[in-house]
Amino acid sequence: MITIESLSKKYGARTVVDDISFTARPGRVTGFLGPNGAGKSTSMRMMVGLTRPTSGDVTISGRRFTDLPNPGLEVGVMLDASAQHAGRTGREILTLAQQMMGLSARRVPETLELVSLTETESNRRVGSYSLGMRQRLGIAVALIGGPSVLILDEPANGLDPAGIRWMRDLLRDYANDGGTVLLSSHLLHEIEVIADDIVMIGKGRIVAQGSKTELLRTAGTVVRARNMNALERALHESGLVTTSMQDGALRADADPTVVGLVARESGLALTELRTADGGLEDMFLQLTAHTQREGKAA
C-alpha cells in the first residue's frame, strides 16, 4: 500500500506538486493520469526518496521509502527505462540489481524469461536496445526482488500493441495476487483499460480521483426518445440538468436509472439510454486544454 499525504514540491516560487493526497491499495492497479508536465514524475521521485518533498509524507506499507532496509525487496521501481549506462548489457544491469538485493543468481534468468527478453537480447548492450526492450528490462529490475508494491512511470511508453497487452496482463495478474501497482501515463486510454482506481492530476493538483466505475458514473447519462422536447421538459421538471448533444441526444447529469424512471413516469418511449462515455475523456481534455501550450488538446 502506498499512502500519500499532502505531498507538495516547490522550486522557488513555482509549485510543481500541490498538496496531493491519495492511496494506492493492495490488489488494485492505480493509474496516475495527467498530461505531460503535470507533476507525475516529480511525485513518483518523491515517493522513492530521489527528490525531497517541500512538505507532506509518503509511506509504503507504513514506512518511508528511505527507511526501508532493502527497498528492492519491497518496492519495485521503474522511473525511466533509459536511465541506464548504455555500455552495460541488459543481463549485467539485472545482475547488479540481483547482487545488490542479495538474491540468488538464478533469479536473473527467471526474471529475464518473465519479461520475455531472450538470451541473445540480454547479452547485448543496452545502448542498442529499442525503447520497448528497455521498458522490459526496467520492469525486470523492478520485479526481480519480488516486491509487493510496484511504482512505474510511463511503463507502456515505446511498447508495441502486443507489448502493451503483455504489460497489462502482467500487472493485472500481479494485482490479482495481492500486489499494489501504481503506474503513470499521459494517455487516458492506457489508464482506462488497466486501472481499477484513477488519480487524475493537472498542474500539480489532483482534479479527480476514485475507482474507475465511480469516475465513469459521474459522466452522466445519454438519453434519446422519439419525442425529444417532451423528454427535455420531463427531465427539467424533475430537477435534472441537461445539455443537448451534437447528434440530437440529451445528456443528463444523473444515473441512467433515474433518467429511465423519469421517462417512464412521463410515459415516454426511450430509444437510447446509457452511461455517457468519455466523461473521463472530457475531463482529461479540459485538463490538457488548460495545461497544453498549444491551447487545444490534440
Partner: protein
C-alpha cells in the same frame, strides 16, 4: 509466472536486513569493470605500466637504471589514470543516470559514496602494487640487458609513501566527482588542478617571498610530491595533512552534503 515473483517477495519480508556495506562495495567494484569504457580504463593501468617499463629499459641511461627510475616512470601514469577511474565511478551515476536505480536500491546515498571510495581505493592499491612489482621485473630485466648493477634504491617506507601519494591523487578525483557530479567538469577540474595549479603556484612562489613559506601548507601538489621522493620529516607530514584536509576532505564533505540533498533525475 507472476505468482512465483510475488511468493518470493513474501518469503523475504520476514527477515529483511539492511544492504550491508560489503555488498554495496562489491557491486560498485563490479560496476567499475563491467562496461567497455570501464574495462579499458582498468586495462590501461596494465598497459601503461608495461609501456613505461619498456620505455625505461629502452631510453634510460644505464647509470640511471635503478628501481626508483622504474617506480617513478610507472607511477606517473597512475597519477593520471587512477583519478579518472575515481571520478567516473562517482559521476557515472549522474552522467549516465544509473543513479536512478542505484539510489532507489540503496537510498542512503552516503553508503553508496562510501562504497565507491572503498572500491576505488581497492583498485588504487592493487594498481600500485602491480606497478611496483612491474618495476621490480623491469629493473631485473633492464639491468640484465644493459649489464649494469642492480640498484634497489626504494625503501619499504618509501614504497608505502608512493602508494599513499597515488591514493591521494585518486581521492582528489573522488572529491571532484562528488563535488561536481559531472564527468567532463570533474575531469577538466582534475587536470586544471594537477597541471595548471602547480605552475601558477610555482610562479607565485618564485615572485612572492611570503607565499614561498606558505606554499607547502596550501599547495597540495607540492606537499604531496614529497611522498614520491622519499621519507618525510614531521613537518612535511603536517604539510600533507593540512593541504589534504583543505583541498580534499573539506570539499568532499561539501560535495557529500550536496549529494545527499540533491535531486536524482
Amino acid at each position: 509466472m507472476t505468482t512465483i515473483v510475488l511468493d518470493r517477495g513474501l518469503e523475504q519480508h520476514a527477515a529483511v536486513h539492511h544492504v550491508p556495506l560489503s555488498r554495496v562495495t562489491r557491486v560498485e567494484l563490479r560496476k567499475m569493470f563491467d562496461t567497455r569504457s570501464g574495462f579499458w580504463l582498468m586495462a590501461s593501468i596494465v598497459i601503461a605500466a608495461l609501456l613505461s617499463t619498456v620505455a625505461t629499459i629502452l631510453f634510460a641511461p644505464d647509470a640511471e637504471l635503478t628501481y626508483y627510475t622504474f617506480a617513478k616512470a610507472i607511477g606517473f601514469p597512475m597519477t593520471v589514470i587512477l583519478p579518472m577511474i575515481a571520478v567516473l565511478s562517482i559521476t557515472g551515476e549522474w552522467s549516465q543516470r544509473s543513479g536512478l536505480t542505484t539510489f532507489t536500491l540503496v537510498p542512503r546515498r552516503n553508503r553508496v559514496i562510501l562504497a565507491k571510495v572503498i572500491a576505488s581505493v581497492t583498485v588504487g592499491v592493487a594498481s600500485m602494487l602491480f606497478a611496483l612489482v612491474t618495476g621490480v621485473v623491469g629493473n631485473l630485466v633492464g639491468t640484465a640487458i644493459a649489464g649494469a648493477d642492480l640498484v634497489w634504491d626504494v625503501s619499504f617506507a618509501h614504497g608505502v609513501n608512493i602508494v599513499l601519494g597515488s591514493l591521494l591523487c585518486l581521492l582528489t578525483g573522488t572529491m571532484l566527482g562528488v563535488l561536481f557530479r559531472s564527468s567532463p567538469v570533474a575531469l577538466v577540474a582534475y587536470f586544471v588542478y594537477s597541471l595548471l595549479l602547480p605552475t601558477v603556484s610555482g610562479l607565485l612562489a618564485s615572485n612572492q617571498e611570503r607565499f614561498r613559506d606558505l606554499r607547502p601548507w596550501v599547495d597540495l601538489n607540492y606537499a604531496q610530491s614529497a611522498l614520491f621522493e622519499g621519507s618525510l620529516t614531521g613537518e612535511q607530514w603536517a604539510h600533507v595533512a593540512v593541504a589534504a584536509t583543505t583541498w580534499v576532505v573539506l570539499p568532499a564533505l561539501v560535495g557529500l552534503r550536496r549529494v545527499m540533498k540533491s535531486e536524482v533525475k
